[in-house]
Amino acid sequence: MRTEMNNIFVYCEIENGAVADVSLELLTKGRELADKLGCKLEALAIGHGLQGIEKKLAAYGADTVWVADAADLAPFRTLPHAAIICGIFKEEKPQIALFGATSVGRDLAPRVSSALHSGLTADCTSLEIGDHTENKTGKEYKDLLYQIRPAFGGNIIATIINPDHRPQMATVREGVMKMQEAAKPGAGEVKTVDYKKYLKDTDLAVKIIEREMEERKVNIKGASVVVAGGYGMGSKENFGMLYELASVLGGEVGASRAAVDAGFAEHARQVGQTGVTVRPKLYIACGISGQIQHTAGMDQSAMIISINNDEAAPINKIADYAIVGDVMTVIPKMIKSYKQNSK
């Protein structure tokens, strides 16, 4: 009789043979959770041309790497990937399954959760292990996955649990978790998936006719200085000043969701729960009020300066320096002063 391992599974996104950062971040987090729970960390690699992929995944802590490698499986299509994952999960019965909150993960994970009737929490900003006592019945649960996320426009932080259904599923945005090679690499034992047994003909009915992937143009995640603008910047033209400051300081420009929605900046620059999470040495928040949706993506910055004419703006509660003033006059002064003092 096979024993149920109840391990942690991470679905790994692979584009052109490279593992996505978000998947390595999830493995890093998964390793930590697996050590806490005393279980194994298993990686799912579904795609094509995956020879040797286990080395990279093992470095980030994967004990086991499930490999389904075939031309039909890349680029990503929902149905075949979902069918393979469901097939493996039905047999392996993981306790936790993690997906990136990306175009791929947010398309795939709900499909899988529906098929398995397991709960799924989107865009978690924190994952913890904890116990739970059901109020009505007094029933106790040990070692559940606390799936923590802002909700309701960022006005609340909710802790979600899935007491009775497995796997406990969550998606996490890129950059939210740290990416770090494991202190002790995993064994990276390859298990070749006999994927055909999970697929129906109809799973391949959606055909990709054309595909154009752009290289990542904006890399605010890796910037040591982020100059971010909010709705308070007033216009796309005014954002120009932020690019100037960022260029002088050697940084990148970020934006709040409100500024992106208003068309002041492109989505790739959005910082926050529905954008990128950044941890720069310096974060300068210009005309940003500081909704939790935004601060969730930048509050780990080493230093935060806010420029806002509203002294009571929530951003000032997490800022190290709060400049109360008009961004349009303060920023040129910063540029001028930096140029003078850095010589």
Partner: protein
């Protein structure tokens, strides 16, 4: 030959999360929708536009809006009719209360089975939850293929639809057999506005509950004379749904804890925008190697 299509749009009436007051949450951690202004979920309007575009491409097609919610959610159906939808179904029942995305998807899938469409179009996600789960979950419950993040329908014929999708870092064109489920991105065209003629035609469109609440014979007779003013209203029993898969019972995810957002106050050093203050700050940043 283009066929006529039966199109169902999934739309949600959502609290306007941009204007949240103190009494927005109930003690059990669920949303107190009654305390908030209710709007047509923005991306569902993008979805409606795609459905109406399909109808333009395939004349004779029908667009019906399916929404699940309290009685007042009939507003989104009327709004959609003012913009060109042919009618709609309000799925309403106390048993739906507290449903998570999975229970919601199950309920919607029961109603969709009864409507039997060729194409189901939904917004990518709703602004109150931002989960983007219901579209794919509905597709799975119905055993249909899904195309998410649709931005443009390029063609539809011979039982195939060709769609341009907008991904985080790129574009994909895919073909998908019908019937299918698509979810629409905010980057797709905005919805056409309400049309004065349609507003005139449908302004008295009501659900049976709304007519009964008004207790006016006028509306009852109007409804009999003009069947297109009838907004269908279905309960759990009407869609033959299993109670065990609905509401809190049918929801695998539970809310353990809700915290209102309270920022941990850290002592921010207050500065003015004066030249001296800014200069001192920049010197400090350079001295501490935060910059440079």
């Amino acid at each position: 030959m283009k066929k006529t299509l039966k199109i169902v749009v999934l739309a949600k009436q959502v609290p306007d999360t941009r204007n949240v007051g103190k009494d927005a949450m109930k003690a059990d951690g669920t949303v107190n929708r009654a305390a908030l202004p209710a709007i047509f979920n923005p991306e569902d309007l993008n979805a409606l536009e795609q459905a109406l575009t399909l109808k333009d491409m395939c004349p004779g097609s029908t667009v019906e809006v399916l929404t699940m919610g309290p009685p007042r959610a009939a507003d989104v159906i009327r709004d959609a009719m003012f913009r060109g939808a042919d009618g709609g179904v309000l799925l309403t029942d106390r048993k739906f209360a507290g449903s998570d995305t999975l229970a919601t998807s199950y309920a919607l899938s029961r109603a969709i089975r009864k409507m039997n469409p060729d194409i189901i179009v939904a917004g990518r996600q709703a602004i109150d939850g931002d989960t983007a789960q219901v579209g794919p979950q509905v597709a799975e419950k119905l055993g249909l293929p899904q195309v998410t993040y649709a931005e443009q329908i390029l063609s539809v014929d011979e039982g195939q639809i060709v769609i341009k999708r907008r991904l985080e870092r790129g574009v994909e064109v895919v073909s998908c057999p019908l019937p299918m489920v698509m979810t629409v991105n905010a980057s797709a065209p905005e919805c056409r506005p309400q049309h004065a003629k349609l507003v005139m035609k449908y302004k008295h469109a009501k659900t049976i509950s709304e007519i009964q609440a008004l207790q006016e014979d006028y509306y009852t007779s109007l409804r009999d004379a003009r069947p297109y003013l009838n907004i269908t209203e279905w309960s759990v029993a009407d869609v033959d749904a299993d109670d065990q898969q609905l509401g809190l019972t049918g929801s695998p995810t539970k809310v353990k804890k809700i915290e209102n957002v309270v920022f941990q106050a850290k002592e921010a050093k207050k500065l003015t925008g004066s030249d001296a203050d800014i200069n001192e700050l920049m010197q400090e940043l350079i001295a501490s190697h935060t910059l440079g």
